[in-house]
Symmetry: C2
Subunit: 459 residues, 2 copies
Amino acid sequence: MIRFLLVVTCCSLILVPKPSAAQSEDSLVIRRIADEILRNGTAYENLRFLCKQVGPRLSGSAGAERAVQETARMMREAGADTVMLQPCLVPHWVRGDGEAAYVYGTDGGRRAIRAVALGNSVGTSKKGVRGKVVEVRDFAELDRLGKAGVEGRIVFFNHAMDPTMLQTFRAYGQAGAYRGNGPSMAAKYGAVGVVIRSLASNIDDYPHTGSTRYNDSFPQLPAVAVSTREAERLSADLRAGVIRELWFRTTAEMLPDAPSYNVIGEIRGSEFPDEVITVGGHLDSWDLGEGAHDDGTGCVQSIEVLRVMKALGIRPKRTIRAVMFMNEENGLRGGLAYAEAAKEDGRKHVFALESDAGGFTPRGFGFSGSPAQFQKFMGWRGLFQPYGAGDFANGGGGADIGPLRPLGTALAGFVPDSQRYFDVHHASSDVFEAVSPRELNLGAVVMAGLVYLVSQHGL
Amino acid sequence: MIRFLLVVTCCSLILVPKPSAAQSEDSLVIRRIADEILRNGTAYENLRFLCKQVGPRLSGSAGAERAVQETARMMREAGADTVMLQPCLVPHWVRGDGEAAYVYGTDGGRRAIRAVALGNSVGTSKKGVRGKVVEVRDFAELDRLGKAGVEGRIVFFNHAMDPTMLQTFRAYGQAGAYRGNGPSMAAKYGAVGVVIRSLASNIDDYPHTGSTRYNDSFPQLPAVAVSTREAERLSADLRAGVIRELWFRTTAEMLPDAPSYNVIGEIRGSEFPDEVITVGGHLDSWDLGEGAHDDGTGCVQSIEVLRVMKALGIRPKRTIRAVMFMNEENGLRGGLAYAEAAKEDGRKHVFALESDAGGFTPRGFGFSGSPAQFQKFMGWRGLFQPYGAGDFANGGGGADIGPLRPLGTALAGFVPDSQRYFDVHHASSDVFEAVSPRELNLGAVVMAGLVYLVSQHGL
């Protein structure tokens, strides 16, 4: 387009309720925060480092250990008064030498397919598992087949994320049951292995990993994910009756727990140092890809919150902590250790904000607190509408900060646009290049804005 | 992330004003539109074809001609009652054999740089142009240098898009003056050539083209764009005093006007066939890249509006036309021809909607009409909030539909999120892969929703 004036006019006239006089100063501070981050932000370069120099950082891996050291450095560079490592023991699952899988056709031929072991899953024997394939769309279909239809076979859970759900997290939540419980549900009926359709919102060739959870009542089955396109092809070939068997081998195993850390960077509050605000993301990532949107972006945005306060000379009344939580993906040990320490430290943990839904363009925040706190939160909404982040909702938080809620901490989750997240989530396509610098920075702007407001006005 | 429940809750509870009873049925129709497009939409596959099979389609090119035929086919497949080609004569600018450019250092060496001729610009002689480089940030700086500082030199306009403008179209509008008027302003002081910093919101290696406009009072200078990263490097090297001269050669030329067409697909209104609603994008694109976001997405979304009506058996009361406008990029002849014909056809052109700001996640619409029409438009806002498109603003439209305004046609511009648009706009990076299928589809959903409302309720 070349003639943009009409569009420009429209963009600049988004109707926003006039802020009260009391909010005018806050609005100016948030504007300064935005200008500083959009001009001089370091989140994108920090993310580049985390993705390209550190890379994947599954709990217990060398990458995770290096990420601890490097984000501690980034926090010092951002100007944190104190940077500390908070120990926690984490599960140490490894993929091993990788996976191999073949589809054997009724014509005697075989076709290699890409498959990735689900996180926390057991490996197969060296021989792998081989069997006829039975496809089901959901657990009800599995139950109808029962032992007679499942025993000795490989169950293929082909449950697609519902494309009509406008918020992709809802569709993910629904389809997630097959990754989480599918292996044990199939084991219940005597299956020998499980293949799931990746939890992905698009059709492409990347398999997506992610945690599965074994139910102790049943044998632990090896389980792999295939890409959505492969799932469609397998399904079509099964319908056409041209698949004889499927074979796969995985080399995954769960090693003993490993020592690791949350990384905490703190700016001490000038008036109420014992009231603590936490802003964080999780530092661990799956071993495929670079953990860019999940959750490198949440980490570097949280560091940016510290940096912008220091760069602008803002002295927050309450203590602000950026926290890189370890082990969100397959254990949550970091979040649990953080809450445990918070319970003991004699400080009041007033508020925690997590960014773990990707580094996409901001839409708003979800909030969990008392009705009075929620009302205060809603009163700030107009300050965020100019930044496209006016969707303020009741209910929200994040996995890592969830354990703080029983301490009375109010929680919020940063809500970016959700449409692209599950294209890359847990797949080797979750790389630095999938992140837009402006979208990332705008997320940091509204996160810093909300943290600033709580730091000045409490909750 | 694995534990999404808190985030999910937040997403599903976005606060939306309760629609009136009268709006409930509209809301259900829009929901059906959304379900159909999100499940069975063809916009993404049509876009793939337009980008990968047709490719770039600058006015007058073979690609543009093929795009006319192919989108006419797509409209027939979408179920349009009538598909017609509306003739127009278009400027026919060609890049020729491409560009070459070197920076000559004070050390005697030279370095090749990527440069692309600006659209509509003249070519250099075969020898190219060579001269010392003078860098300016803006026209004021150019004026201060005057003839003494500019004559015989190459002027380098290094004006960056302002990163602090939240709506990138505003920053583009401001910086656009250097691409549009820079060559003539430099010619005024006797420059021999012009280099501009690409109008881009990110720092990368892609030069972005786009129209320049010569002022008849001054000689027509050849002009090229360099990438933002190259602009930063040139600037640093000039400050360091290590650049002796710059040379570039372009082979662009303006050929005689060529015959071309707008493509119009129509569904005849069941009650008011002589009241016409137009929904469109522009079919031409710059010759770099594939014209994916600019404006393949607007075209395939408009075709999708027709398709979803037919697929759902909706019989609109008013006539709906999807229009692929030709020559938005360097002449607007299609938009002018369309309005000219509308003036003569004896029908009432009640409303026109354009999508020409990229196929990104929807934010809302800008609207230009009478106060009463604007009020009616604003009354529909709540219907679009669940789709993330509740930013309804006064003022909006699009380049191609602008000429309809004098006929009394109310106009609207679809407003997607603007953060990524100028990363790829007019560059070879504007390719199919830069488009998210869900974002594209959601845009089509809200466009179809608004067209549906006007088709049923008028304006």
